[in-house]
Subunit: 223 residues, 2 copies
Amino acid sequence: MIRDPEILGRKLGLKFIDKTLMQTALTHRSAASPNNERLEFLGDSILGFVIAEYLYEKFPKADEGVLSRLRSNLVNQSSLAELARNVDLGDFLILGSGEMKSGGYRRDSILSDAIEALIGALYKDQGYERCKAWVLGLFANRIDDVTLDNWEKDPKTRLQELMQSKGLKLPSYTLKSTSGLPHQQSFSVECEVELLDKPQLGIGSSRKKAEQQAAQTVLDLLL
Amino acid sequence: MIRDPEILGRKLGLKFIDKTLMQTALTHRSAASPNNERLEFLGDSILGFVIAEYLYEKFPKADEGVLSRLRSNLVNQSSLAELARNVDLGDFLILGSGEMKSGGYRRDSILSDAIEALIGALYKDQGYERCKAWVLGLFANRIDDVTLDNWEKDPKTRLQELMQSKGLKLPSYTLKSTSGLPHQQSFSVECEVELLDKPQLGIGSSRKKAEQQAAQTVLDLLL
Protein backbone atom coordinates (compact mmCIF):
# COMPACT_ATOMS: atom_id res chain seq x y z
CA MET A 1 0.00 0.00 0.00
CA ILE A 2 1.67 3.20 -1.19
CA ARG A 3 0.99 6.16 1.09
CA ASP A 4 -0.30 9.56 -0.03
CA PRO A 5 2.61 11.75 -1.25
CA GLU A 6 1.00 14.76 0.47
CA ILE A 7 2.00 13.19 3.78
CA LEU A 8 5.60 12.85 2.62
CA GLY A 9 5.47 16.47 1.46
CA ARG A 10 4.44 17.55 4.96
CA LYS A 11 7.23 15.54 6.56
CA LEU A 12 9.74 17.12 4.19
CA GLY A 13 8.34 20.66 4.27
CA LEU A 14 7.63 20.47 0.55
CA LYS A 15 4.55 21.56 -1.34
CA PHE A 16 4.69 21.01 -5.07
CA ILE A 17 2.77 23.26 -7.44
CA ASP A 18 2.97 20.58 -10.12
CA LYS A 19 2.03 17.39 -8.26
CA THR A 20 3.02 15.18 -11.17
CA LEU A 21 6.66 16.22 -10.65
CA MET A 22 6.56 14.81 -7.13
CA GLN A 23 4.89 11.66 -8.38
CA THR A 24 7.57 11.21 -11.04
CA ALA A 25 10.30 11.75 -8.45
CA LEU A 26 8.84 8.90 -6.39
CA THR A 27 8.49 6.48 -9.32
CA HIS A 28 11.26 3.92 -9.68
CA ARG A 29 12.14 2.74 -13.17
CA SER A 30 10.77 -0.72 -12.33
CA ALA A 31 7.26 0.73 -12.07
CA ALA A 32 6.35 2.97 -14.94
CA SER A 33 7.28 5.69 -17.29
CA PRO A 34 7.98 8.52 -16.64
CA ASN A 35 10.22 7.40 -13.80
CA ASN A 36 12.60 9.37 -11.59
CA GLU A 37 15.89 8.72 -13.42
CA ARG A 38 16.02 11.99 -15.35
CA LEU A 39 15.07 14.03 -12.30
CA GLU A 40 17.74 12.19 -10.34
CA PHE A 41 20.35 13.18 -12.96
CA LEU A 42 19.33 16.80 -12.57
CA GLY A 43 19.02 16.67 -8.78
CA ASP A 44 22.40 15.05 -8.34
CA SER A 45 24.09 17.96 -10.13
CA ILE A 46 22.14 20.57 -8.12
CA LEU A 47 23.03 18.84 -4.86
CA GLY A 48 26.71 18.77 -5.82
CA PHE A 49 26.68 22.48 -6.54
CA VAL A 50 24.71 23.54 -3.44
CA ILE A 51 26.99 21.60 -1.12
CA ALA A 52 30.14 22.72 -2.96
CA GLU A 53 29.18 26.35 -2.54
CA TYR A 54 28.24 25.87 1.09
CA LEU A 55 31.58 24.26 1.94
CA TYR A 56 33.49 26.81 -0.15
CA GLU A 57 31.98 29.64 1.90
CA LYS A 58 32.12 27.92 5.27
CA PHE A 59 35.77 26.89 5.03
CA PRO A 60 37.67 29.72 3.33
CA LYS A 61 41.02 28.18 4.22
CA ALA A 62 40.34 24.58 3.23
CA ASP A 63 42.04 23.41 0.08
CA GLU A 64 40.30 21.61 -2.77
CA GLY A 65 41.22 18.14 -1.52
CA VAL A 66 39.67 18.83 1.87
CA LEU A 67 36.53 20.34 0.29
CA SER A 68 36.10 17.30 -1.97
CA ARG A 69 36.45 14.91 0.93
CA LEU A 70 34.06 16.89 3.09
CA ARG A 71 31.51 16.82 0.30
CA SER A 72 31.78 13.12 -0.37
CA ASN A 73 31.48 12.48 3.33
CA LEU A 74 28.33 14.60 3.50
CA VAL A 75 26.70 13.50 0.26
CA ASN A 76 26.84 9.82 -0.57
CA GLN A 77 24.44 6.97 -1.15
CA SER A 78 24.26 5.98 2.49
CA SER A 79 23.83 9.52 3.87
CA LEU A 80 21.05 10.19 1.37
CA ALA A 81 19.39 6.88 2.16
CA GLU A 82 19.47 7.77 5.84
CA LEU A 83 17.75 11.09 5.15
CA ALA A 84 15.14 9.15 3.19
CA ARG A 85 14.59 6.69 6.03
CA ASN A 86 14.11 9.52 8.52
CA VAL A 87 10.88 10.38 6.70
CA ASP A 88 9.90 6.79 5.82
CA LEU A 89 10.35 7.66 2.16
CA GLY A 90 10.23 3.98 1.24
CA ASP A 91 6.51 3.90 2.09
CA PHE A 92 5.81 6.45 -0.64
CA LEU A 93 7.82 4.92 -3.47
CA ILE A 94 6.13 3.60 -6.56
CA LEU A 95 7.96 0.38 -7.44
CA GLY A 96 7.41 -2.43 -9.91
CA SER A 97 6.07 -5.64 -8.42
CA GLY A 98 9.47 -7.36 -8.58
CA GLU A 99 11.22 -4.58 -6.69
CA MET A 100 8.34 -4.40 -4.26
CA LYS A 101 8.61 -8.11 -3.43
CA SER A 102 12.37 -8.03 -3.08
CA GLY A 103 12.19 -5.06 -0.69
CA GLY A 104 13.46 -2.34 -3.03
CA TYR A 105 11.92 0.31 -0.76
CA ARG A 106 14.59 -0.53 1.79
CA ARG A 107 17.54 -0.38 -0.61
CA ASP A 108 20.07 2.45 -0.22
CA SER A 109 20.43 3.03 -3.95
CA ILE A 110 16.69 3.36 -4.57
CA LEU A 111 16.17 5.61 -1.54
CA SER A 112 19.08 7.89 -2.34
CA ASP A 113 18.04 8.19 -6.00
CA ALA A 114 14.57 9.25 -4.88
CA ILE A 115 15.99 12.00 -2.67
CA GLU A 116 18.04 13.31 -5.59
CA ALA A 117 14.98 13.10 -7.84
CA LEU A 118 12.95 15.13 -5.32
CA ILE A 119 15.69 17.78 -5.42
CA GLY A 120 15.50 17.86 -9.22
CA ALA A 121 11.70 18.01 -9.10
CA LEU A 122 11.69 20.89 -6.63
CA TYR A 123 14.13 22.79 -8.82
CA LYS A 124 11.84 22.35 -11.83
CA ASP A 125 8.79 23.28 -9.77
CA GLN A 126 10.08 26.29 -7.84
CA GLY A 127 13.49 27.37 -9.13
CA TYR A 128 17.01 27.41 -7.81
CA GLU A 129 16.79 29.60 -4.71
CA ARG A 130 13.93 27.68 -3.16
CA CYS A 131 15.56 24.38 -4.04
CA LYS A 132 18.87 25.43 -2.52
CA ALA A 133 17.20 26.57 0.70
CA TRP A 134 15.38 23.26 0.99
CA VAL A 135 18.53 21.22 0.36
CA LEU A 136 20.47 23.15 2.98
CA GLY A 137 17.59 22.62 5.43
CA LEU A 138 17.53 18.89 4.67
CA PHE A 139 21.25 18.65 5.40
CA ALA A 140 21.19 21.17 8.26
CA ASN A 141 22.03 18.78 11.08
CA ARG A 142 24.81 17.08 9.18
CA ILE A 143 26.19 20.34 7.88
CA ASP A 144 26.35 21.82 11.36
CA ASP A 145 28.41 18.85 12.46
CA VAL A 146 31.00 19.37 9.74
CA THR A 147 34.28 20.65 11.07
CA LEU A 148 37.70 20.61 9.59
CA ASP A 149 39.16 18.71 12.56
CA ASN A 150 38.98 15.35 10.96
CA TRP A 151 40.00 16.44 7.51
CA GLU A 152 43.19 18.18 8.33
CA LYS A 153 44.58 15.07 9.95
CA ASP A 154 46.70 12.93 7.68
CA PRO A 155 45.12 9.92 5.91
CA LYS A 156 46.79 7.27 8.13
CA THR A 157 45.49 8.92 11.28
CA ARG A 158 42.01 9.31 9.82
CA LEU A 159 41.91 5.70 8.66
CA GLN A 160 43.07 4.48 12.05
CA GLU A 161 40.38 6.54 13.80
CA LEU A 162 37.74 5.28 11.39
CA MET A 163 38.62 1.65 12.13
CA GLN A 164 38.64 2.33 15.88
CA SER A 165 35.25 4.03 15.71
CA LYS A 166 33.81 0.92 14.05
CA GLY A 167 35.49 -1.44 16.53
CA LEU A 168 37.54 -3.04 13.75
CA LYS A 169 41.17 -4.15 13.58
CA LEU A 170 43.66 -1.38 12.84
CA PRO A 171 44.89 -1.13 9.23
CA SER A 172 48.05 -3.05 8.40
CA TYR A 173 50.75 -1.77 6.05
CA THR A 174 53.16 -4.02 4.14
CA LEU A 175 56.16 -2.82 2.17
CA LYS A 176 55.92 -4.55 -1.21
CA SER A 177 58.92 -3.19 -3.07
CA THR A 178 61.52 -0.49 -3.36
CA SER A 179 63.11 0.57 -6.62
CA GLY A 180 65.32 3.25 -8.10
CA LEU A 181 68.71 4.64 -7.15
CA PRO A 182 69.46 5.27 -3.46
CA HIS A 183 68.86 9.05 -3.67
CA GLN A 184 65.75 8.66 -5.80
CA GLN A 185 63.90 5.65 -4.46
CA SER A 186 60.30 4.69 -4.98
CA PHE A 187 58.44 2.67 -2.36
CA SER A 188 55.26 0.71 -2.76
CA VAL A 189 53.19 -0.24 0.22
CA GLU A 190 49.94 -2.14 0.59
CA CYS A 191 47.32 -1.16 3.14
CA GLU A 192 44.86 -3.80 4.28
CA VAL A 193 41.68 -3.25 6.28
CA GLU A 194 38.88 -5.55 7.37
CA LEU A 195 36.24 -3.73 5.32
CA LEU A 196 37.86 -4.30 1.92
CA ASP A 197 38.48 -7.58 0.13
CA LYS A 198 41.77 -6.52 -1.36
CA PRO A 199 44.72 -4.51 -0.06
CA GLN A 200 45.24 -1.11 -1.71
CA LEU A 201 48.55 0.07 -3.09
CA GLY A 202 50.32 3.35 -2.41
CA ILE A 203 53.49 4.61 -4.06
CA GLY A 204 55.78 7.36 -2.82
CA SER A 205 59.31 8.66 -2.53
CA SER A 206 59.44 7.44 1.08
CA ARG A 207 57.87 4.54 2.90
CA LYS A 208 55.79 6.97 4.92
CA LYS A 209 54.51 8.79 1.85
CA ALA A 210 53.58 5.48 0.23
CA GLU A 211 51.68 4.49 3.38
CA GLN A 212 49.81 7.79 3.43
CA GLN A 213 48.84 7.37 -0.19
CA ALA A 214 47.62 3.82 0.38
CA ALA A 215 45.59 4.99 3.40
CA GLN A 216 44.03 7.75 1.30
CA THR A 217 43.02 5.26 -1.37
CA VAL A 218 41.37 3.09 1.27
CA LEU A 219 39.55 6.11 2.70
CA ASP A 220 38.31 7.10 -0.74
CA LEU A 221 36.85 3.63 -1.17
CA LEU A 222 35.25 3.55 2.26
CA LEU A 223 33.82 7.07 2.56
CA MET B 1 56.28 36.51 -20.02
CA ILE B 2 52.71 36.26 -18.69
CA ARG B 3 50.24 38.28 -20.73
CA ASP B 4 47.78 40.83 -19.32
CA PRO B 5 44.60 39.07 -18.09
CA GLU B 6 42.51 41.93 -19.54
CA ILE B 7 43.34 40.56 -22.99
CA LEU B 8 42.14 37.11 -21.99
CA GLY B 9 38.99 38.74 -20.59
CA ARG B 10 38.30 40.33 -23.97
CA LYS B 11 38.85 37.05 -25.81
CA LEU B 12 36.45 35.32 -23.46
CA GLY B 13 33.87 38.10 -23.23
CA LEU B 14 34.51 38.40 -19.50
CA LYS B 15 34.93 41.53 -17.42
CA PHE B 16 35.52 40.90 -13.73
CA ILE B 17 34.39 43.44 -11.14
CA ASP B 18 36.86 41.94 -8.67
CA LYS B 19 40.07 41.54 -10.69
CA THR B 20 41.74 39.50 -7.98
CA LEU B 21 39.22 36.72 -8.58
CA MET B 22 40.38 36.42 -12.17
CA GLN B 23 43.99 36.50 -11.07
CA THR B 24 43.36 33.72 -8.57
CA ALA B 25 41.59 31.67 -11.23
CA LEU B 26 44.70 31.90 -13.42
CA THR B 27 47.15 30.98 -10.65
CA HIS B 28 48.30 27.38 -10.58
CA ARG B 29 49.10 25.83 -7.21
CA SER B 30 52.78 25.65 -8.22
CA ALA B 31 53.00 29.46 -8.24
CA ALA B 32 51.48 31.05 -5.21
CA SER B 33 48.73 31.21 -2.71
CA PRO B 34 45.85 31.83 -3.19
CA ASN B 35 45.76 29.51 -6.18
CA ASN B 36 42.87 28.33 -8.36
CA GLU B 37 42.13 24.98 -6.72
CA ARG B 38 39.22 26.13 -4.57
CA LEU B 39 37.63 28.06 -7.44
CA GLU B 40 38.06 25.00 -9.63
CA PHE B 41 36.16 22.89 -7.07
CA LEU B 42 33.32 25.39 -7.17
CA GLY B 43 33.42 25.88 -10.94
CA ASP B 44 33.39 22.15 -11.63
CA SER B 45 30.13 21.77 -9.72
CA ILE B 46 28.52 24.76 -11.48
CA LEU B 47 29.56 23.45 -14.87
CA GLY B 48 28.09 20.03 -14.07
CA PHE B 49 24.78 21.60 -13.11
CA VAL B 50 24.55 24.03 -16.04
CA ILE B 51 25.21 21.30 -18.58
CA ALA B 52 22.93 18.82 -16.81
CA GLU B 53 20.04 21.26 -16.94
CA TYR B 54 20.73 22.15 -20.55
CA LEU B 55 20.71 18.51 -21.65
CA TYR B 56 17.68 17.73 -19.47
CA GLU B 57 15.70 20.44 -21.26
CA LYS B 58 17.03 19.81 -24.75
CA PHE B 59 16.42 16.07 -24.73
CA PRO B 60 13.12 15.46 -22.92
CA LYS B 61 13.02 11.84 -24.05
CA ALA B 62 16.60 10.83 -23.29
CA ASP B 63 17.04 8.57 -20.30
CA GLU B 64 19.52 9.20 -17.51
CA GLY B 65 22.22 6.96 -19.03
CA VAL B 66 22.12 8.89 -22.29
CA LEU B 67 22.17 12.26 -20.49
CA SER B 68 25.19 11.19 -18.42
CA ARG B 69 27.10 10.04 -21.48
CA LEU B 70 26.24 13.21 -23.40
CA ARG B 71 27.51 15.28 -20.51
CA SER B 72 30.77 13.40 -20.09
CA ASN B 73 31.31 13.65 -23.82
CA LEU B 74 30.74 17.41 -23.73
CA VAL B 75 32.57 18.19 -20.49
CA ASN B 76 35.87 16.43 -19.90
CA GLN B 77 39.49 17.34 -19.45
CA SER B 78 40.32 17.33 -23.12
CA SER B 79 37.25 19.32 -24.25
CA LEU B 80 37.94 21.96 -21.59
CA ALA B 81 41.61 22.09 -22.53
CA GLU B 82 40.61 22.65 -26.14
CA LEU B 83 38.38 25.56 -25.16
CA ALA B 84 41.35 26.96 -23.23
CA ARG B 85 43.68 26.60 -26.22
CA ASN B 86 41.23 28.41 -28.49
CA VAL B 87 41.92 31.58 -26.48
CA ASP B 88 45.62 30.85 -25.78
CA LEU B 89 44.79 30.58 -22.11
CA GLY B 90 48.20 29.05 -21.41
CA ASP B 91 49.85 32.44 -22.11
CA PHE B 92 47.96 33.98 -19.19
CA LEU B 93 48.59 31.31 -16.56
CA ILE B 94 50.64 32.07 -13.48
CA LEU B 95 52.79 28.98 -12.91
CA GLY B 96 55.69 28.12 -10.62
CA SER B 97 59.09 28.05 -12.28
CA GLY B 98 59.20 24.23 -12.38
CA GLU B 99 55.85 23.99 -14.12
CA MET B 100 56.83 26.80 -16.43
CA LYS B 101 60.00 25.02 -17.52
CA SER B 102 58.29 21.70 -18.01
CA GLY B 103 55.60 23.28 -20.19
CA GLY B 104 52.69 23.16 -17.71
CA TYR B 105 50.88 25.82 -19.74
CA ARG B 106 50.37 23.21 -22.43
CA ARG B 107 49.06 20.47 -20.17
CA ASP B 108 45.41 19.43 -20.48
CA SER B 109 44.89 19.10 -16.74
CA ILE B 110 46.22 22.57 -15.94
CA LEU B 111 44.30 24.20 -18.79
CA SER B 112 41.02 22.50 -17.96
CA ASP B 113 41.37 23.32 -14.25
CA ALA B 114 41.85 26.98 -15.14
CA ILE B 115 38.65 27.02 -17.22
CA GLU B 116 36.73 25.53 -14.30
CA ALA B 117 38.32 28.05 -11.95
CA LEU B 118 37.25 30.92 -14.23
CA ILE B 119 33.70 29.57 -14.08
CA GLY B 120 33.87 29.52 -10.27
CA ALA B 121 35.37 33.03 -10.21
CA LEU B 122 32.67 34.43 -12.49
CA TYR B 123 30.00 32.90 -10.27
CA LYS B 124 31.51 34.57 -7.21
CA ASP B 125 31.89 37.85 -9.07
CA GLN B 126 28.55 38.10 -10.86
CA GLY B 127 26.17 35.41 -9.63
CA TYR B 128 24.55 32.35 -11.09
CA GLU B 129 22.53 33.69 -14.03
CA ARG B 130 25.45 35.55 -15.59
CA CYS B 131 27.74 32.60 -15.01
CA LYS B 132 25.30 30.16 -16.58
CA ALA B 133 24.87 32.38 -19.65
CA TRP B 134 28.63 32.62 -20.08
CA VAL B 135 29.13 28.87 -19.73
CA LEU B 136 26.44 28.14 -22.30
CA GLY B 137 28.06 30.65 -24.64
CA LEU B 138 31.46 29.06 -24.14
CA PHE B 139 30.06 25.65 -25.04
CA ALA B 140 27.69 26.97 -27.70
CA ASN B 141 29.36 25.38 -30.71
CA ARG B 142 29.79 22.04 -29.05
CA ILE B 143 26.32 22.11 -27.60
CA ASP B 144 24.75 22.81 -30.98
CA ASP B 145 26.50 19.75 -32.35
CA VAL B 146 25.03 17.48 -29.72
CA THR B 147 22.39 15.20 -31.12
CA LEU B 148 20.99 11.99 -29.84
CA ASP B 149 21.91 10.09 -33.01
CA ASN B 150 25.08 8.69 -31.64
CA TRP B 151 23.76 7.99 -28.19
CA GLU B 152 20.74 5.98 -29.07
CA LYS B 153 22.76 3.46 -31.02
CA ASP B 154 23.75 0.40 -29.06
CA PRO B 155 27.17 0.31 -27.35
CA LYS B 156 28.76 -2.17 -29.82
CA THR B 157 27.82 0.02 -32.76
CA ARG B 158 29.06 3.16 -31.06
CA LEU B 159 32.33 1.55 -30.08
CA GLN B 160 32.87 0.28 -33.61
CA GLU B 161 32.20 3.74 -35.04
CA LEU B 162 34.54 5.31 -32.53
CA MET B 163 37.40 2.99 -33.51
CA GLN B 164 36.72 3.61 -37.20
CA SER B 165 36.73 7.39 -36.71
CA LYS B 166 40.17 7.14 -35.11
CA GLY B 167 41.49 4.81 -37.82
CA LEU B 168 42.04 2.00 -35.30
CA LYS B 169 41.41 -1.73 -35.45
CA LEU B 170 37.84 -2.80 -34.73
CA PRO B 171 37.10 -4.11 -31.23
CA SER B 172 37.43 -7.86 -30.72
CA TYR B 173 35.10 -9.89 -28.51
CA THR B 174 36.06 -13.19 -26.89
CA LEU B 175 33.69 -15.51 -25.08
CA LYS B 176 35.39 -16.35 -21.79
CA SER B 177 32.89 -18.59 -20.05
CA THR B 178 29.31 -19.74 -19.81
CA SER B 179 27.70 -20.96 -16.64
CA GLY B 180 24.32 -21.86 -15.19
CA LEU B 181 21.55 -24.18 -16.28
CA PRO B 182 20.60 -24.24 -19.97
CA HIS B 183 17.50 -22.07 -19.51
CA GLN B 184 19.28 -19.65 -17.19
CA GLN B 185 22.76 -19.23 -18.57
CA SER B 186 25.24 -16.50 -17.84
CA PHE B 187 27.84 -15.50 -20.43
CA SER B 188 31.02 -13.58 -19.90
CA VAL B 189 32.75 -11.87 -22.78
CA GLU B 190 35.90 -9.80 -23.02
CA CYS B 191 36.15 -6.82 -25.33
CA GLU B 192 39.59 -5.70 -26.42
CA VAL B 193 40.50 -2.43 -28.14
CA GLU B 194 43.80 -0.86 -29.14
CA LEU B 195 43.36 2.13 -26.83
CA LEU B 196 43.18 0.14 -23.59
CA ASP B 197 45.86 -2.02 -22.01
CA LYS B 198 43.47 -4.61 -20.70
CA PRO B 199 40.35 -6.25 -22.12
CA GLN B 200 37.09 -5.37 -20.34
CA LEU B 201 34.57 -7.92 -19.14
CA GLY B 202 30.84 -7.96 -19.77
CA ILE B 203 28.34 -10.38 -18.29
CA GLY B 204 24.84 -11.08 -19.55
CA SER B 205 22.11 -13.64 -20.03
CA SER B 206 23.07 -13.98 -23.69
CA ARG B 207 26.34 -13.71 -25.54
CA LYS B 208 25.06 -10.59 -27.28
CA LYS B 209 24.05 -8.92 -24.02
CA ALA B 210 27.45 -9.71 -22.53
CA GLU B 211 29.15 -8.17 -25.59
CA GLN B 212 27.03 -5.03 -25.32
CA GLN B 213 27.88 -4.68 -21.67
CA ALA B 214 31.59 -5.12 -22.34
CA ALA B 215 31.42 -2.52 -25.14
CA GLN B 216 29.65 -0.10 -22.79
CA THR B 217 32.39 -0.53 -20.18
CA VAL B 218 35.04 0.21 -22.81
CA LEU B 219 33.11 3.30 -23.97
CA ASP B 220 32.81 4.54 -20.39
CA LEU B 221 36.59 4.27 -20.04
CA LEU B 222 37.32 5.97 -23.34
CA LEU B 223 34.80 8.84 -23.33
